[in-house]
C-alpha cells in the first residue's frame, strides 16, 4: 500500500525567505506525485504534479518540486515566499494504475510573517 509522510506539521518563515516543505512517499510500484494547497476558508487546489518526464516541476506562482526516485521524495520549494503563501500544503501520491486514487499526507502549515 502507498503512503505519504510529511514530517513537518508547521513551518514558520519570514517573508522573502526561502522555504522547503518535505514529502516522502512509500510505494511498491511507480507513482505519480502531487502538491495541493489549501488557503484559509477555501477548498484544496492543485499546485503542481509530477506524472512523467522532467523530474523538476514548477507552478505558476513560483513553487517547484523535484521527484527523487532514489530518495522517494517530492519536496516543495520556493526561493522567496510572500505573506499570501500562508496556507496548508498537502503532498499526495497516486499509484500508476491509470485512474485517480490519491493518498494524502497529513499536511504542512506554512506560516509567513512580515
Amino acid at each position: 500500500a502507498q503512503s505519504v509522510t510529511q514530517l513537518d506539521s508547521q513551518v514558520p518563515v519570514f517573508e522573502e525567505a526561502p522555504v522547503e516543505l518535505r514529502c516522502n512517499y512509500s510505494s511498491s510500484v511507480s507513482v505519480y506525485l502531487f502538491w495541493y494547497v489549501q488557503y484559509p476558508n477555501q477548498g484544496l487546489q492543485l499546485l503542481l504534479k509530477y506524472l512523467s518526464g522532467s523530474t523538476l516541476v514548477e507552478s505558476i506562482n513560483g513553487f517547484e518540486a523535484e521527484f527523487n526516485k532514489s530518495q522517494t521524495s517530492f519536496h516543495l520549494r520556493k526561493p522567496s515566499v510572500h505573506i499570501s503563501d500562508t496556507a496548508e500544503y498537502f503532498c499526495a501520491v497516486n499509484e500508476n494504475t491509470g485512474f485517480q486514487k490519491l493518498v494524502f499526507g497529513t499536511g504542512t502549515r506554512l506560516l509567513v510573517s512580515p
Binding site: Q42, G43, K101, F104
Partner: protein, 115 residues
C-alpha cells in the same frame, strides 16, 4: 464557471442522529469523489463515482455510511446514525474523468460536529 458546490457548510448534530451532505460537481465532470478529513490529517477517500456508478467504495464504512449519485450529476452522502468519531470535514471533489492526468477540483467542504 461555478466550482464544486457543497451544502451545508457547517452542521452540528447530536450522536445517533442522521445527517446528509450534498455536492454539486462542476458541470460536465463525470467523476465525483467524497473524502473525509479528520482534524490534523489529510483527506481520505471514501467513495469514487464514475457517472452514477460507485466504482470504488472500499473505504466507505458501509454499516452507517451511504452515498448516491442517481442521475450522474449531484450526489448525497449520508451518515445514520452519527457517532462522535464522525466529526470531521467532508469534502467533495470532481474531475472530467477518473484518469490520473485529470485534475481534481475540490469543494469548500462540510464541517460536521457530533456532540
Amino acid at each position: 464557471e461555478a466550482g464544486v458546490v457543497q451544502s451545508p457548510r457547517y452542521k452540528i448534530i447530536e450522536k445517533k442522529q442522521p445527517v446528509a451532505f450534498w455536492c454539486n460537481p462542476i458541470s460536465g465532470h463525470n467523476t465525483l469523489y467524497w473524502y473525509r478529513q479528520n482534524l490534523g490529517q489529510g483527506p481520505e477517500l471514501l467513495i469514487r463515482y464514475e457517472n452514477e456508478e460507485a466504482v470504488d467504495d472500499s473505504q466507505l464504512p458501509k454499516d452507517r455510511f451511504s452515498a448516491e449519485r442517481l442521475k450522474g450529476v449531484d450526489s448525497t452522502l449520508k451518515i445514520q446514525p452519527a457517532e462522535l468519531g464522525d466529526s470531521a470535514v467532508y469534502l467533495c471533489a470532481s474531475s472530467p474523468t477518473g484518469i490520473v492526468e485529470n485534475e481534481q477540483f475540490f469543494g469548500p467542504g462540510t464541517r460536521l460536529t457530533v456532540l
